[in-house]
């Protein structure tokens, strides 16, 4: 199948047959799929916390300041070469940032008494 082929000549369309990183796996299986009524379900503590932490989006003055910094950093007349270098750096730091957040979510799980299960019937 064409979708399963990795990469293209342009690199503007990246293909992967299966999720690789934690963020991608979360996108596929968290909060997705058949949900069974609470009255027959056992709640496993730890999963909910993982969900919440992984999904938090902070929209605040901090975000605005980040935009302002990014815009002020940007030299509109910069040469193409400089631009590409900056893009590469920008791209990798953004990735590290999101992975950092997800790692944080993961770290919280072992601390929980997640063997507690409730049956709410």
């Amino acid at each position: 199948m064409a979708i399963a082929t990795q990469g293209t000549a342009s690199n503007y369309l990246q293909r992967a047959p299966s999720p690789s990183g934690l963020a991608e796996v979360l996108d596929v299986i968290l909060d997705k799929g058949l949900v069974i009524d609470a009255y027959v379900r056992v709640s496993v503590i730890g999963i909910e916390v993982l969900t919440i932490d992984a999904r938090i989006v902070i929209a605040s003055v901090d975000t605005y300041l980040r935009f302002a910094e990014a815009v002020n950093r940007l030299d509109l007349n910069q040469t193409e070469t400089a631009g590409i270098d900056e893009l590469r750096n920008g791209g990798s730091s953004a990735k590290q940032k999101s992975e950092g957040v997800l790692e944080g979510a993961k770290e919280k799980i072992p601390g929980l008494g997640s063997s507690d299960k409730e049956r709410s019937r």
Partner: protein, 249 residues
């Protein structure tokens, strides 16, 4: 019934038609063996949970691998990660018998379908360059906040707010363009909240026979969106984002 600290549970990965999936060899959540429980023409893919169970990062992968193995063989209605029922009897009665009709309907709807997860990721600098060039208010605020330095806090907040609004506007336009481009090749769409620099993030339900067409539409689109955004597509995946309708009774 009172909450129990010691009872084990039955972890459920998904539901298939009975006899369509002989076995699953992938390791289950908590390292358990994956089994099939059959009732009324349906089979639940399950494993036992140990009493002292803690969710680990590896369990996310295990859940997905079990679903992927089942999906490679036949049509599967995936369960959400962390679906645990009290007993095997509950799986057979409450799930397989109790939801037989909606599950059969979901299986029929998902027959021959794959899920493709698509993300359109902005290049921060390219996007900002596009948004601010020729915008006089942005230019003015940049100049002011540059001159004022640390004292220009208010100007910086205002500038950032303005740019955030422009990013939002851009996201709406690009997301609409993506959805319009693939609309003829998809059965269903489930959108997620996009990240700060994503134009769009979502899952598309696509007929296996149309995957190549869907892919070439994305290829065309990627050429148009570059260099401001690039597209990432993952799949074919089990249709995790399109199973929820099976809960309707």
């Amino acid at each position: 019934m009172a909450a129990s600290m010691t009872s084990t549970g039955v972890y459920v990965y998904g539901v298939v038609r009975a006899d369509e999936l002989p076995a699953v060899s992938a390791e289950g959540v908590a390292g358990a063996t994956v089994e099939l429980l059959e009732r009324d023409g349906l089979a639940a893919i399950v494993s036992r949970l140990p009493g002292e169970f803690r969710v680990k990062r590896r369990d996310l992968q295990r859940h997905l691998h079990v679903l992927e193995e089942a999906f490679a063989e036949t049509t599967v209605v995936p369960c959400a990660f962390g679906t645990v029922l009290v007993s095997e009897a509950d799986v057979e009665e409450a799930l397989l018998s109790g939801r037989r009709d909606p599950l059969q309907a979901a299986l029929a709807r998902l027959d021959g379908m794959v899920q493709l997860n698509v993300k359109a990721v902005y290049d921060e600098n390219e996007l900002l360059r596009r948004l601010i060039s020729g915008n006089p208010e942005v230019a003015k605020l940049r100049e002011e906040s540059g001159k004022l330095g640390d004292a220009g806090y208010y100007q910086r907040v205002r500038l950032g707010e303005l740019v955030a609004g422009l990013v939002e506007e851009s996201r709406r336009q690009d997301a609409d363009a993506i959805l319009a481009a693939v609309s003829g090749t998809v059965e269903d769409v489930a959108l997620d909240d996009p990240g700060e620099y994503d134009a769009l993030k979502g899952s598309f339900l696509v007929d296996r026979k149309r995957v190549d067409r869907f892919d070439s539409k994305l290829e065309e689109l990627a050429a148009k969106l570059q260099p401001v955004a690039r597209l990432e597509v993952i799949g074919p995946l089990p249709p995790t984002a399109f199973a929820a309708s099976a809960t309707a009774t």
